[in-house]
Assembly symmetry: C2
Homo-oligomer: 339 residues x 2
Amino acid sequence: MALQPTINDVARAAGVSKGLVSLALNDRAGVAPDTRARILEAAEELGWHPNPSARGLTSRRAYALGLIVRRDPSIIEADPFFSAFIAGVETVLADRGQVLVLSVVPDVESEAKAYTRLAHDKRVDGFLITDLLADDHRIHLIEGLGMHAVTLGEPNVDSTFPVVTRDYDKGIAALADHLMELGHRRIAHVSGDERMLHGRLRREQFERSMSDAGLQAVVVPTDFSPEQGAAATEALLDSAEPPTAIIYGNDPMAIAGMSVAHRRGLRVPGDLSVTGLDGSQIGTYVYPSLTTLRNDPTEWGLAAASSLLRLIEEGASDDVALPPAELVVRASTAPPARP
Amino acid sequence: MALQPTINDVARAAGVSKGLVSLALNDRAGVAPDTRARILEAAEELGWHPNPSARGLTSRRAYALGLIVRRDPSIIEADPFFSAFIAGVETVLADRGQVLVLSVVPDVESEAKAYTRLAHDKRVDGFLITDLLADDHRIHLIEGLGMHAVTLGEPNVDSTFPVVTRDYDKGIAALADHLMELGHRRIAHVSGDERMLHGRLRREQFERSMSDAGLQAVVVPTDFSPEQGAAATEALLDSAEPPTAIIYGNDPMAIAGMSVAHRRGLRVPGDLSVTGLDGSQIGTYVYPSLTTLRNDPTEWGLAAASSLLRLIEEGASDDVALPPAELVVRASTAPPARP
DNA sequence: TTGAAAGCGTTACCAA
DNA sequence: TTGGTAACGCTTTCAA
């Protein structure tokens, strides 16, 4: 009676040597078609799965991808992006008998340790790099570790890794236009962490849109936390010429900002229009529901995992561009009361 | 020059056989203290990390724990619990050279496949079982797979797995008392999915508290989504005797419920008091900030991972009880306008 | 196209 | 307390 069947059991059942079983399993050339069929049938019948440890020992592959997420413990909070992103990754990996190794670390130091450990211990064959920073040190670190990787977004440093991107510029421009068409002139942007590349790019496009329209762009940078989103809102509303519309760098900040407005007796969108970015489900149910840009994290996951796997298995992989982010107009934007 | 150093390099450097290196590495008996010291020193110097594939081949261990999260794609959304939970797990695993394998799956069928695959492929040594359901089929599935596991919460079916629990009864009672002391009499509970055990337990404690006070408990079950939270709120406010306070099964539903109230022109907490459960950071920044029960997901992660590792390594592990959930009173609760 | 055999880097066992 | 050697399950030569 079987523990787990091994390659020897399959070889015996198919009446061949285990070397052939290995060739057949891995779709390698040099196996007669009917022999291959017989082998695969025997494997199927015995319910044989090759043991990843044994494979890894000779092939030097882990059959796993690594995702390391850094989260300041004080900001440790729901991120609408990751569960859907990982679901996308999983879809690709499950089909190929691979797994995702996930690590959540509190700071840069343990982040570097985590990459190093996963690489040294050969626990993964490559990394998915999310939340790209300006001058992101991870690119260099991972290259130095001799590992493969794919970045979500285009790094601003030399990188040999394939890139998955989504255009936000059009979306940001559409969002700014939407507000201007409603009659807004004083539009502020509560931007995210300036060290994060995607936040910076969005801020730049916002500034471009505003200057194209001959308007002044007011930007308050934050760390993406609802706390700083609230503080930025207070500051903006206290200023000499408070904005009539605020574009927040993410939905949680927008929600916090709306609360500040409410607390001050301002009505949204009557007295203040508000938008998020990277629309999350919760944005649909707050009052008023949030105008935002739609993202699709699952798409990111599918694309990034496929690209990384191709890189690992074939030694090269193309960049991929996802469809541009789309404007979703809901109830938190309206013409200004006093334009 | 070294690829990765192997156990042989260490053995040679320390002038012993590789068998001894293995014993020393694994803190096994039968190595002279000074020999052990010499070996560890040599290992340190060479920067040797044992290869998990090679270890796994003989020890039949994966040195990995599995977490499989099922999320209906339509409800795929931020869950404040997981990033902090995983950070806790990671803390325990990193110290021991182990990793977390994470899978996010859309339905029960792919969930079962994921458990089976991870077990058959020996990718993990045990599972962390979260979001326990009533009559949870996973207990039986995992036992049948011959795998170890730990459950977050006490299953209502026979289980041989250790259990990590946190008492919510006291917290729910305190929350109900808080509302009653404010003068509320008509208190409703928008509960979570009845199939989820923790939701059911909280509902039962709510009913107990209400009946102890001689009050009628109104309960509307949902699937934990903000959407159904909003719908439940509509239904409650439309009823003949609308509640003056609503306890929501989680913070996102409470936020959605508040929006419904706002939309109807009700003021929170003036016309309607509202509370969440399982306090999330975002609850601090909505307006008004949410009264809730505090949970600490990191604690869950630490306890569950430690317990599971002990089970795997020593064959047995004790149940662990985390400190009870605490009431956090913020601004969303106040005396009723017309009691 | 196939079989036999030699690793891969550990752990486990048996002598010494 | 130590060393030598045989697994572990697979991939990869090298012959046939």
